[in-house]
């Protein structure tokens, strides 16, 4: 990738951008978060927004980051690459970013839920872990 | 072979061939015609300056006729100039000429081309409307008039649709645009569109004759 950086490429964003660099899609996402939070508080229905589903300018991302900010929780998952799970300033609104082993983003989501599914330990994994731990303890207890 | 390959391939080959054949046939045939011998004394040594002068002076009506003809003349200039800007200023068109002749020239920004094309379409529609409404024009108009209008209008309209990616898949729009240009080329030497070349022949010969006779131009 080093050689590619020297090539003079001027990238012009084809989105209709206003003067402040925003496209209006960040605002749309913030409003959708409100709608999903309302649905969650009323019926418990979880929701998610795929940030790759709408074209966003760098300024849009900045607006989202600045508005949502950081909350109390920051978790990292190490499963074929890193996954960053951050609760935003608004409880129940989680920013989940999936990276592959080379550090590229493969998915970027906002989840509206009490806790993102990916953080929960799957029931089958728990059962298997139990079996392994039992076996380990049995081995250790043998003289 | 899909429609676009057909349009860019055999269709254009035949259209260029018929255009070249038709243009040379008519021009050579007309220019080699026998002219009536003029036995009068020439009033000027050379007559070709008169040809040039008349071509230029007939480009705008005489004072007496302006009131009646200005509207039509202006409309005509609008769409002729519009066509020149679109045909010779748009980058992909310049590529076609470069492929045929080797000549290249700088292109105009696309925004100017699109505006020009839209104005040309508007002017052509007004021209057609006038021809249909004006009683004398309607009386005089024949198939040649309407068909020549159509083969001029179609390439501009289909070209605008193609750049706007409007109405069908792009490859289909481009193919239809190229086919419409082929139709224009095939009709050109055989109808009233031939005025593009012949206007200079007729005005030139009239002007030369006037100059020889010493008439005012």
């Amino acid at each position: 990738m080093s050689g590619l950086d020297n090539i003079g490429v001027k990238v012009v964003n084809p989105l209709p951008i206003q003067e402040d660099g925003l496209s209006g899609n960040a605002d749309a996402i913030l409003h959708e978060i409100v709608a999903l939070l309302e649905a969650f508080t009323a019926t418990g229905q979880t929701g998610a927004i795929d940030l790759h589903s709408l074209p966003l300018t760098p300024d849009d991302y900045e607006l989202l980051r600045a508005t949502l900010a950081d909350g109390e929780v920051h978790a990292q998952i190490n499963a074929i690459g890193n996954t960053e799970v951050r609760e935003t300033l608004y409880p129940g609104v989680w920013w989940v970013t999936y990276y592959n082993v080379e550090g590229d983003i493969v998915a970027d989501l906002l989840e509206i839920t009490a806790i993102p599914e990916i953080l929960k330990a799957p029931a089958d994994d728990i059962r298997e872990g139990l079996v392994h731990l039992r076996e380990l303890l049995t081995q250790l207890e043998q003289p | 072979m899909d429609l676009l390959q057909f349009a860019r391939g055999p269709t254009l080959t035949w259209a260029f061939a018929i255009f070249a054949f038709g243009m040379t046939w008519r021009l050579v045939g007309i220019l080699l015609l026998k002219r009536r011998p003029d036995y009068s004394e020439p009033r000027n040594a050379t007559s070709w300056p008169g040809a040039i002068k008349l071509i230029i002076s007939r480009s705008w009506p005489h004072r007496e006729f302006i009131q009646r003809t200005a509207f039509g003349q202006t409309l005509g200039y609008i769409f002729h100039i519009g066509l020149v800007i679109v045909v010779f200023g748009f980058a992909p068109h310049i590529l076609v000429f470069k492929g045929l002749t080797g000549l290249d020239w700088p292109n105009l920004p696309n925004a100017i081309i699109y505006a020009s094309g839209a104005i040309t379409l508007g002017a052509l529609i007004v021209v057609l409307g006038r021809r249909l409404i004006h009683p004398v024009l309607r009386l005089l108009s024949n198939f040649d008039d309407y068909f020549s209008w159509f083969v001029t209008f179609a390439p501009v309209a289909t070209g605008m649709l193609a750049v706007a990616h409007l109405g069908a898949r792009y490859e289909t729009l481009l193919a239809i645009h190229i086919l419409s240009v082929a139709l224009l080329l095939v009709w050109f030497p055989f109808g009233k569109l031939m005025h593009a070349a012949l206007v200079f022949v007729s005005r030139g010969s009239t002007g030369a004759l006037f100059e020889r006779k010493g008439a005012s131009i």
Partner: protein, 352 residues
């Protein structure tokens, strides 16, 4: 088989965590513009599903399509595809060879008759009884017809199997044809490209394994989710096209500034593929971003549509000889007409 051959069981065996698998499904759902909730449906369905049996037949091809799939940018993420399916036959990747491999294929076809997914790359030669490409003495044509009989659906990976590809190009000495030219009674999905983008191959397989049917296809049998837009529609250099700023030669001032490559023969406007959005090598770049125009490699007959460096606006043939001949012919006919007229005029004049 002692354990159920479900995907969940095979994941456990290979030590891939369920979280990793959920992450993979989320990435696939995002890639295919499915709603985020589809990721859970995918993970759930795949976890409980019997591993989809897949027979991969390679015909008259260069193996670029298999290389593309296996040289994917994320070795572990895309390899999950091979966990979702039971790849019962693939000549390049399998360990077995010779008669052992052939009998393994026949066994798999019999065991999963009517349910296996048949993947084909490479065109099928038909001239001279199809002798130009054979496996174990059997022509590709016969192999395809036999394998298609028990297939639930057929996926033609790459432009060769989708449309004929390079072998099909003029003069097509082997009589190469596409899968769709030979098989009429099975659902066929074309995933063209020379080669196709690896994520595209992985995505459509994931879709089929999850939902049990082919995604929505366009008029050329390509999945709309990846082939609905042209390169031109999503190209980052589009603003330059709109402004009329074109590179005239490679490496000139315009090229260095990243201007549109239309004049250098880019076929982006007539090519449907996901290169401009998903890109190649893990999103690093795609041909136009690297300074070369699109070849149109996911379209039929792209080898026969004129030079890669001839712009779309320019006629395909070299018309100069035709035009010259026509002009000379016209001049000749015009001269004849003029001579006849002049003779006639002289005649009339003399009569007086």
């Amino acid at each position: 088989m002692n354990e159920p051959d479900t995907l969940g069981a095979s994941l456990a065996r290979t030590g891939i965590s369920r979280r990793s698998f959920l992450k993979f499904c989320t990435a696939m759902a995002s890639l295919m513009a499915l709603p985020p909730s589809a990721a859970y449906a995918m993970a759930d369905a795949l976890n409980r599903a019997q591993r989809q049996s897949v027979i991969w037949l390679s015909f008259q091809e260069c193996t670029g399509c298999v290389e593309s799939l296996t040289r994917s940018f994320d070795p572990t993420l895309e390899q999950l595809i091979f966990e979702m399916i039971s790849l019962d036959y693939q000549e390049t990747l399998q360990a077995a060879s010779g008669e052992a491999a052939e009998s393994a294929r026949e066994q798999a076809m019999k065991a999963s008759y009517g349910k296996y997914l048949l993947i084909v790359d490479g065109s099928i030669p038909t001239k001279d009884g199809g002798v130009y490409s054979t496996v174990a003495g059997v022509s590709n044509h016969d192999l395809l017809v036999e394998a298609a009989r028990g297939a639930a659906a057929i996926v033609a990976v790459g432009t060769c199997s989708s449309f004929g590809g390079i072998p099909h190009a003029n003069p097509n000495p082997t009589g190469a044809v596409s899968v769709a030219d030979l098989i009429r009674d099975k659902p066929i999905m074309n995933v063209p490209g020379c080669p196709p983008i690896p994520s595209v191959i992985a995505g459509v397989l994931a879709y089929f394994v999850t939902y049990g049917k082919l995604p929505e296809l366009d008029h050329l049998g390509r999945p709309k989710v990846f082939f609905a837009d042209t390169i031109h529609d999503r190209c980052y250099r589009r603003p330059f096209y709109e402004q009329g700023k074109f590179a005239k030669t490679f490496d000139d001032e315009g090229a260095r500034n990243g201007w549109c490559l239309y004049e250098l023969g880019c076929k982006g406007p007539t090519t449907y593929n996901a290169c401009a959005t998903i890109k190649w090598n893990g999103g690093v770049s795609f041909p136009i971003e690297s300074g070369h125009g699109c070849l149109g490699c996911s379209e039929p007959d792209f080898w026969d549509k004129g030079s890669f460096y001839k712009p779309l606006a320019v006629p395909l043939a070299d018309n100069t000889p035709t035009i010259t001949a026509a002009a000379l012919g016209g001049a000749a006919v015009g001269t004849v007409a003029a001579v006849i007229s002049r003779t006639h005029q002289t005649h009339i004049g003399e009569e007086k």
